[in-house]
Amino acid sequence: MLYREQARNIKVPINHLTRPPERGLVEVDENNYTIEVSLCVRGDELDPDEVTAALGVTPSSSQRKGQRVVDPATLRRVTARTGEWRLRADSGSGLVSDHVSALLSRISVDASGIEGLARVEAALIDIVVTVPADERGGGHCEFDFSADLLAALARTGLPIQVTVCVVEE
């Protein structure tokens, strides 16, 4: 929920500001928004095969530092600056929570153990939502997690990074 007093400062649509949050509903138009939720493990000396063996699941993508890879943002071939192991959620839902649930269903072990692996420098649940710019050039994303989903996230022992990208076409 956004506050009225903040509404005057940030100039987002007033109907959004005054609307009470509705559980289970995320303001995502499946035709315009993209949601990507993944478990991301990074480290300069990371051995992706080691993470795969520890978690018992094949990553959606992985790289070692120094490897030639395609930058997904620019589609150019670049040299990887760090090692990375990434498992993406497989969900066609327009709800962020569904993507998180789908991801957690694929991680069968306590993921906090990932941080204990040698050469792992960071591990996190990575949520990226891309929204088209509104008529003012801004955008927003709103989502909710149930108490059960939060408990499941807490059991992973991992931080959550949420990135919202506003794209003007």
Partner: protein, 143 residues
């Protein structure tokens, strides 16, 4: 969170209910709210608008800042009151309790922009221990 942009943050515990008595929440939690409304009282929803009768009782405790890490705000909020479903469930009239996080910033790029917010593992654990649902809103506005 991106450091180059000024941002607004608010973290809050919301408790609502048609028959909620905000004073009962204050007594049960031992903390004064930042905002409350009692069912049946008159209020002015926003500046310049007509007064209205409150239909749902609201009790909100919030921390609003424009600097510092979000994680500190969340820990501070949850340290003020010991919130969990057992405590809240014992308060008459509670229908809709939740934890709310709101972050807003302005963007300057002519082709859009982005904002990243990290919820630390300690935050995730603390919020999960409340047993309450969690709402998050991230808002980017064009300068």
């Amino acid at each position: 969170m991106t450091q180059e942009h000024k941002y607004t943050k608010a973290v809050a515990i919301y408790i609502r209910g048609k028959d909620l008595d905000p004073d009962a929440v204050t007594r049960a939690l031992g903390a004064n709210p930042s905002f409350y409304r009692k069912k049946g009282e008159r209020c002015v929803p926003s500046a310049g608008s007509r007064s209205a009768i409150v239909k749902v009782g609201v009790w909100r405790l919030s921390i609003e800042t424009d600097s510092g890490p979000l994680s500190g705000d969340i820990e501070k909020l949850l340290s003020i009151v010991s919130v969990n479903t057992n405590v809240i469930g014992g308060i008459k009239g509670v229908e809709d309790p939740f934890i709310d996080v709101f972050v807003a910033t302005s963007i300057h790029g002519y082709r859009g922009g982005a904002l990243s917010v990290t919820i630390s593992k300690e935050n995730v654990s603390s919020i999960a221990k409340t047993g309450l649902p969690f709402f998050m809103t991230i808002c980017l506005t064009k300068k």
